[in-house]
Symmetry: C2
Subunit: 265 residues, 2 copies
């Protein structure tokens, strides 16, 4: 079906999800909304995050999207159930795919989860993992400096190493064998994190897992695009220049253009 | 005059300014507004920051304040002239006091300024310093990781040291003899920064300098409180629990209570 897929995030990090979807489904047309005027969501209250998520979805459904991807762990944790009630399109969040993968690959049932404060406090990952595998022991921890680190392009080096060590050393002690990157910014630190664990811990990248679920779901529902792919579109609510700059770090190439829009006024 | 002083910031950092005013003027009643629903301002566009600053001031003038303090460098840089036009009360920002102090204490006319991206890009410090001392050579640099560092309470230790070194080593090379902390969060890193420069660079704390200007101006205008001091009031636009937690780091003691309000709706 020749309709676009809508993707929103609180800001720039959701581009890791867009990138993974683009790689897996190059024929699909994507519309991305980054709510950069109100980023970050991770330290805001639940009511506020739900309101923002509804406003973002209202914006995207105007493009007659065939599927919505919530490319933000905090939004998914707080609002996916409410969005599913309110909007009559298939909706995929970034939490369930990552949680499922972690349960599938763990051997010792000791699973680590990292994310923003709001995501970890919501227990969204913990609850899904526990439901899928009641024997799992879950160690969850917020890593609030990872997002600014990524946004500054500090993906490796002395500062990145010292922040990674500070947040992740307790996971070494606990003996986890899998770590879920429960924030869309974190995949950019994947190599630094992998090196810190000396390859002994499997790293689950929610962005990749989400792309697989999107692909499977479009397939099952017969919604794959058979026609011509249209140009992808990028929207932000503020600070377009910064989006282009950090977007280049994430996408590994220039984003051609981005439109600035007002949401929730 | 027994009216309160209104103080606003984009979030929590402005409490360093409130704390300095409280210390210098213990008889004054203070009303603080932290716009935590829309923090940070530092990476938002000029128009957006002006709009937020006007909305914050509109909120505070309802309390019949005798003076407004913009306890946020980004807001001051973008909006102080517009606020002075729109509102008929004395208004003090955090930039001019710090700039004046730097010019007063430098011996070699090599002045460093650090702040958020928006503050540095605005050239507000640079322009004032240049006007006061045309011979000054100014080295200005944004340090975007300092705010999250402070908000996480990482004021010293390995991570703080590595971030401080990353941002400030170029200032050592340039041979500055004074560094202006052009962001209200940064005074909390003062000791770590001072140690990095081995005491060879004077550190100008905008919060302290602003408090002095507030005191002088109230004095000159005959506006000092002669009556009974009322209870200070703290308002935020979101995430009150987080405000109380980080507020404790900044104030060095518990804030009793904070009210959550909606602004700009």
């Amino acid at each position: 079906m020749n309709k676009p897929i809508g993707i929103f995030d609180s800001g720039i990090g959701g581009l890791t999800v867009l990138k993974a979807i683009k790689k897996m489904l190059p024929e699909e047309t994507l519309i991305y909304l980054g709510d950069t005027a109100r980023v970050p969501y991770g330290n805001k209250s639940k009511d506020t995050i739900i309101r923002y998520s509804i406003e973002n979805t209202n914006f995207l459904v105007r493009f007659d999207i065939k599927m919505l991807v919530i490319a933000c762990n905090t939004s998914t944790a707080m609002s996916i159930e409410i969005l599913k009630e309110k909007f009559n399109i298939p909706i995929v969040g970034v939490i369930e795919p990552g949680a499922k993968k972690a349960v599938a690959v763990t051997k010792n049932n000791r699973i680590g989860v990292i994310g923003t404060e709001a995501t970890i406090k919501s227990k969204a990952y913990q609850n899904i993992i526990k439901t899928l595998n009641p024997k799992a022991t879950i160690f969850a921890k917020p890593c609030p400096l990872f997002v600014p680190l990524v946004e500054e392009g500090l993906l490796k080096g002395r500062v990145a190493d010292s922040v990674v060590e500070m947040y992740l050393k307790s996971f070494k002690v606990k003996g986890i064998d899998v770590l879920v990157l429960g924030c869309t910014h974190y995949p950019l630190l994947k190599n630094t994190i992998r090196r810190y664990f000396e390859g002994k811990v499997k790293i689950v990248d929610s962005a990749e897992e989400t792309a697989k679920v999107v692909s499977d779901m479009l397939n099952e529902k017969g919604l794959l695009n058979k026609g011509k792919k249209e140009e992808d579109k990028y929207f932000v609510t503020d600070a377009a220049q910064r989006f282009l700059k950090v977007g280049k770090t994430i996408m590994g190439k220039d984003l051609k253009e981005v439109y600035t829009v007002q949401i929730g006024k």
